[in-house]
């Protein structure tokens, strides 16, 4: 599970994330939404160890990300919105590389099936510059899922995917949660959040505006009864940003 306590991240004078606390339990999909510049990406990056929190703690599967970083990182997978790959490693080599980094057993047996599942079998010996953006995104996701992480963090997971890929991605997220993974998903696509997330966290200017299921949020704001997540979001954030 993910446990965040009083997470604060400052960049000089700028408060990117301000005293944020929440948890994501196993089997849960938490949607992280907010206008541009709300601190979503900084939050995600703090949760995977890319940036260090100025204050507060992050625990992944019970391991403190600061004090026991390696154990925490072994349990998580981060899928950024921009697929970053090494241009000099082939598709198959990326998977082998990731398998070795995370000590994944039985990789020889799993690789062909994984490549087939991703429709990348005929691209196994191809370098990333020759792949479309969608294929590169698929490869990043495959690398992320290879070690069966118990904590999954997605930043705009549907960017660049074709309709079939989008459907498969949504199924994967839901399936992983059903198998017991804690999932945190950041997206501007509110219909996606509404469709697959069990709870929503709305962030604005680094601070949490609200958290809960849509029903819980609506219960706290009776004036928004019957409204969609999009209406709720715009009402709570004052229509700020371009989401």
């Amino acid at each position: 599970m993910i446990q965040v306590d009083n997470l604060t991240k400052l960049y000089g004078e700028l408060v990117a994330v301000d005293d944020l606390s929440f948890t994501v339990a196993p089997g849960e999909v938490l949607g992280l939404v907010g206008p541009n510049g709300a601190g979503k990406t900084t939050t995600l990056r703090s949760l995977v160890g890319i940036v260090r929190p100025t204050r507060g703690t992050v625990k992944i599967g019970g391991h403190d990300l600061e004090r026991d970083a390696v154990a925490a990182k072994r349990q998580l997978a981060f899928m950024p919105d921009e697929p970053h790959l090494f241009d000099y490693l082939t598709v198959e080599e990326h998977l082998r590389f990731t398998a070795r980094l995370y000590s994944v057993p039985d990789v020889e047996r799993r690789l062909p099936a994984l490549l087939q599942e991703l429709e990348l079998s005929d691209k196994a010996r191809v370098l990333p510059p020759e792949l479309s953006r969608g294929m590169r995104q698929k490869l990043v996701i495959a690398c992320g899922l290879l070690h069966d992480p118990t904590v999954l963090l997605f930043d705009e997971p549907l960017t660049g995917l074709d309709p079939a890929g989008i459907r498969r991605m949504k199924q994967t997220i839901v399936e992983r949660a059903r198998q017991g993974a804690a999932v945190l998903l950041s997206s501007h696509l509110l219909h996606l959040v509404e469709e697959i997330c069990t709870r929503v966290l709305i962030l604005q200017r680094g601070r949490m505006v609200t958290i809960g299921t849509l029903a819980e949020i609506l219960a706290r704001r009776p004036d928004l009864a019957g409204k969609s997540l999009e209406d709720v979001f715009l009402a709570l954030t004052g229509g700020a940003g371009d989401t």
Binding site: D87, Y88, R100, P129
Partner: protein
């Protein structure tokens, strides 16, 4: 179209200048700018610099002029030859991504698109020409300066067009096969005629030139100059003489007299390239777009896109074992990247350099001595320049810091793995060279030290090379970790006074750090050497013991360095790289 290109060039230049001035507010750029400025002042206009006599001044009048002419034409010939031997199928008309997106869909003909790009590249060419002239004038800034800038710009423009023509020919042949040969029949015919003429001319003239050199240097230079102007060589080399004419003109009259011929050569190249480009049609333009995207990917730091061309499945040099230490995956990744970037053409270039060095140093000896000299030259080059040029470590990977920081590895493991990959590769190259030289020495009949002594030297060298290379690489990686904003990360190289200044400071800092690292190792090794010498060991074996002990100390220092740098990497954030 010309207005649009000029507007874009003007605004790009003005905005780039403004941005550079603005960033001088940051100390790292201001200090770099001041150091860079001082460096260029020292190179160009330091007091007494202009008074230094040139090499030509020491030669007799006629000989200096003849050699100057030969050097200019020879230099141009080498550049052109390199274009054909080492050039790629990528034309210099590489569009920026924004240009492809704006220009290709715009209502412009292909000719206009190519002309647009050509026009855009002239501003940097002109700046380069001005800079080169000021640097090489060594403080002699006189009224001929603008003429020299124009003359050099014509040379650069022609070389650029020549490179484009060669690339288009190469691209046409590789992509269109037999059709390409048919379409390029005229160009291929001209190239074949030039090569034949050059060969025949050299065969006819060389004996007389060699004989004249044997007589005297002055006679040799005069005969060489005569040979280059006459017969087949004169015809083949005429364009080069025409190009260098305005550049070597002593006054305005000479410049104006030489200008039409130089412009004719440049113009002929322009017509050749435009015709080639238009004949190549879509491939050239589409290729330009693809290259733009690949370069953009490289600029964003996702590795070297040059290896990402559609040249079939990449070679696998070492297969990564499915199990083992996770950090070994980083070592394997970087070694794979470095080996894939290593091309046959690079080997060829290396062999040419080594052969040149070998023939200069080992011309009097046997074949075995030549091999030994070549092998040692290769080792020396790899030892000196390898750690600076082989950047498959944190200097490249920090562009993907986001990704690195999610790996389940401790900082010190990451640092060690990143440094070890190039260290292992370079150690293998240097060790191979040294080993080959040792084997070659066994077949040599030259008066060399005895076999036992040579074994001692081999042991000393093989013991020292890996730790020395690792320390050199660790210093480079420590610099990028401790001062990430000061070092170029990824394949991009910043330019300008401030970048030059930063590089000088980095170099000085790196040299100091290296000195500090090597000193204790040298001292401890020296202590051990004194002890074994006192115990009766001979001079060379004492040296070997010194090397082994120094290597052990260096290795220990490297280990401590990695331990110290680990937390630095863990604390480093992407924002810290800017």
């Amino acid at each position: 179209m010309i207005d649009a290109a000029l507007y874009l060039s003007r605004r790009s230049f003005a905005n780039a200048l403004r941005r550079r001035l603005q960033r001088l507010r940051q100390p790292k750029y201001l200090i770099g700018f001041c150091v860079g400025l001082l460096y260029f002042y020292w190179v160009i206009a330091r007091p007494g610099g202009a008074a230094r006599p040139s090499i030509g001044a020491a030669l007799p009048g006629g000989m200096a002029a003849a050699l100057g002419e030969v050097a200019a034409v020879g230099g141009l010939a080498v550049v052109l030859l390199a274009t054909w031997v080492f050039g790629s199928a990528e034309t210099p008309f590489t569009f920026q991504l924004a240009e492809t997106d704006f220009l290709f869909p715009a209502p412009l003909t292909r000719r206009q698109v190519i002309q647009f790009r050509l026009l855009r590249t002239q501003v940097p060419l002109l700046i380069s020409a001005a800079f080169s002239v000021v640097i090489f004038s060594r403080g002699h800034l006189d009224a001929r300066l603008p003429l020299k800038i124009v003359a050099l710009w014509i040379v650069y423009l022609t070389l650029q067009l020549h490179s484009a023509g060669a690339a288009l020919l190469r691209g046409s042949l590789s992509q269109q096969g037999v059709t390409g040969v048919r379409r390029r029949f005229v160009t291929l015919g001209v190239v074949a005629a030039l090569v034949t003429g050059l060969w025949l001319g050299l065969r006819a003239s060389l004996p007389a030139v060699v004989a004249a050199w044997a007589e005297s240097a002055g006679a040799g230079a005069a005969e060489l100059a005569r040979a280059l102007h006459h017969g087949a060589l004169g015809v083949v080399l005429w364009p080069l003489f025409a190009l260098k004419g305005p550049l070597l003109a002593a006054n305005v009259t000479q410049f104006l007299a030489a200008l039409p011929a130089a412009l004719l050569v440049a113009g002929a190249h322009y017509v050749w390239v435009m015709r080639s480009t238009l004949a190549f049609e879509e491939a050239a333009v589409e290729h330009a777009g693809k290259v733009a995207r690949r370069l953009e990917a490289r600029r964003r730091g996702r590795g070297d896109a040059s290896v990402g061309g559609s040249r079939g499945a990449p070679r696998t040099f070492v297969r990564l074992a499915a199990s083992g230490r996770p950090a070994a995956a980083i070592v394997w990744k970087n070694m794979t990247g470095a080996l894939r970037e290593f091309r046959l053409r690079t080997v060829l270039l290396l062999v040419i350099v080594i052969v040149a060095m070998g023939s200069a140093l080992g011309s009097q000896g046997s074949a075995a001595e030549l091999v030994a000299v070549l092998a040692l030259s290769l080792s020396g080059l790899a030892l000196l320049f390898g750690p600076l040029t082989l950047r498959y470590d944190l200097r490249r990977d920090l562009e993907l810091l986001d990704m690195l920081k999610t790996y389940p590895l401790r900082g010190r493991e990451l640092v060690a793995a990143e440094v070890l990959a190039p260290a292992l590769l370079l150690s293998a190259v240097v060790g191979l060279g040294i080993g080959l030289a040792f084997i070659a020495s066994l077949a040599s009949d030259a008066p060399l030290p005895g076999l036992g002594d040579r074994v001692a030297l081999l042991v000393a060298a093989l013991a020292l090379v890996p730790p020395v290379l690792t320390v050199l690489l660790l210093v480079q990686n420590a610099a990028v970790l401790l001062f990430p904003a000061w070092i170029a990360i990824g394949p991009d190289r910043p330019t300008g006074f401030e970048a030059t200044g930063q590089r000088i400071l980095n170099f000085v800092g790196g040299a100091l750090a290296l000195l500090i690292a090597v000193l204790p190792a040298g001292l401890v090794g020296g202590l051990a050497a004194i002890l074994v010498r006192a115990a009766g060991a001979d001079r060379l074996w004492t040296g070997a013991i010194w090397a082994v002990v120094a290597a052990i100390v260096l290795s220990a220092e490297t280990y401590v360095g990695m331990l110290l740098l680990g937390p630095v990497l863990e604390r480093l954030e992407p924002a810290g790289l800017r």
